[in-house]
């Protein structure tokens, strides 16, 4: 199935706060992050710690690389049939996110930190040689 992403102007909107958890939650929608999760986050230097459902999480903040924008996409209406394109809208944007590991300290070897390296390589390999 193919689809399109509708890009509308989101510069006026507030930045979203994002937490990437090391688990799959069978739920999609509003959650009481402000009351249940954020007040329990503890900071120790750069290292963050929290718990989810009683399990220990270690977290770190990560910034979206320069010249990139983080977007949260939302499908407001599901396609009626298999032939119809999916339409995703940008519901909010972010400049940083907090990702969490299950009971392991965060490090440069975490997949997400390593994956973001790609943006630097992409810039390098697509740069035109002006010299």
């Amino acid at each position: 199935m193919s689809g399109e992403i509708v890009i509308q102007d989101f510069s006026e909107r507030k930045c979203a706060k994002l937490h990437l958890l090391p688990c799959t939650i069978d739920y999609n929608g509003q959650a009481n992050i402000d009351s249940y999760f954020e007040p329990t986050i503890k900071k120790n230097g750069e290292d963050l710690s929290a718990t989810y459902r009683g399990r220990p999480l270690c977290g770190a903040k990560m910034e979206v690389p320069d010249n990139y924008i983080g977007c949260v996409l939302k499908e407001t209406q599901k396609p009626f049939g298999e032939d119809e394109d999916r339409r995703l809208k940008i519901s909010s944007h972010f400049k940083e996110l907090t990702y969490w590991n299950l009971d392991n300290r965060t490090s440069v070897n975490d997949k997400l930190q390593k994956a973001i390296l790609w943006t630097k390589i992409a810039t390098a390999i697509h740069k035109s040689e002006d010299t």
């Binding site: 199935m1 193919s2 689809g3 090391p22 688990c23 799959t24 939650i25 069978d26 739920y27 959650a31 009481n32 009351s35 249940y36 999760f37 007040p39 329990t40 503890k42 718990t51 989810y52 459902r53 009683g54 399990r55 220990p56 999916r86 995703l88 299950l102 009971d103 392991n104 997949k111 390593k114 994956a115 390296l117 790609w118």
Partner: protein, 299 residues
């Protein structure tokens, strides 16, 4: 008892102590250890230690200490005041936060409640010795098999006579005193609990925290958040809690769940299918594979 040090951050375990009596540093002492709040699904577990010179044993017995379970709350408070104001008796308590209990028991490498308990007792003995208390005899109420526990402690503290036994809180005055100190602390921690999650919880009636208490059951049933479960006040590792989460909260799948392992098991049928018939997917470069990067052209 002043528990403000713990209340500054009630997700973090901490040790509170009395002053160290001079007599306990000069004379051989006995030290008793007991726990309060091991069974409840709510709040902290408290380990208490009480020590005094062996020469004072009769005097302490005369204070009227007994197993904390047979005393009323008022009697315990009064006995604690007596213990606390006696200048030959010292005490320590370790408050193990409910969030520490949950995270230890639900860590990647599971840690049993018995191990948590043993560590707390060992920590209290070490801290007493560090304070200069001349510990010669230790009496502990058992957790798990008494013999194993006694051997474990004897190996760590070979110069001290150690006695681990069931019902130690009824047999030895120093353990009775420790049980009173632990219970008074546990009650205070439980009744003053400040919920960082939501202030409206502070005034809710959660009972004594035992799974059998109707007030505790009612609180658990009416305060479930389907995504987060409960505030950190609840011991998530308790089967009482797990059962409610399984039945009424949304499911959460973790990477170390057993079901994840099952997904990796190769189906027996796959050995019978002809190999090489299916078009082989192009293998991506290792740089991309290890970062889980994929090209998305359709979604």
């Amino acid at each position: 008892m002043d528990i403000s040090q713990y209340e500054m951050d009630n997700s973090k375990s901490c040790v509170l102590t009395s002053g160290t009596p001079q007599a306990a540093q000069n004379e051989p002492c006995c030290l008793g250890i007991d726990e309060a709040g091991r069974g409840p699904v709510l709040g902290a577990m408290v380990y208490g230690a009480c020590y005094y010179p062996l020469s004072q044993s009769e005097k302490v017995k005369e204070l009227g200490v007994a197993d904390s379970k047979v005393l009323t709350e008022d009697m315990r408070d009064e006995l604690f005041q007596k213990i606390n104001s006696d200048d030959s008796v010292g005490w320590l308590v370790e408050i193990i936060s409910p969030s520490d209990i949950s995270t230890k028991m639900l860590a990647r490498t599971k840690y049993s409640l018995n191990a948590v308990s043993h560590d707390a007792a060992i920590n209290l003995i070490r801290q007493s010795i560090q304070k200069g208390v001349q510990v010669k005899e230790i009496y502990v109420d058992t957790v798990g098999v008494a013999e194993n526990y006694q051997n474990k402690l004897s190996e760590l503290f070979p110069d001290i006579t150690i006695k681990v036994t069931p019902k130690a809180d009824a047999l030895f005055p120093c353990v009775s005193a420790a049980s009173i100190i632990a219970k008074v602390t546990r009650d205070k921690v439980l009744s003053n609990w400040k919920f960082p999650e939501d202030e409206s919880y502070n005034s809710s009636d959660y009972g004594c925290g035992y799974p059998s208490d109707p007030a505790t059951q009612k609180w658990l049933n009416s305060n479930l958040d389907k995504v987060f479960g409960y505030p950190q006040f609840v011991r998530f590792s308790w089967s009482t809690c797990q059962k409610i989460l399984d039945e009424s909260a949304v499911r959460v799948h973790w990477e170390d769940d057993e079901e994840f392992d099952n997904d990796n098991t190769v189906s027996l049928l796959s050995f019978f299918t002809q190999k090489g018939v299916q078009e082989k997917a192009v293998k991506r470069h290792n740089f991309l594979e290890s970062r889980k990067l994929k090209q998305v052209v359709k979604f």
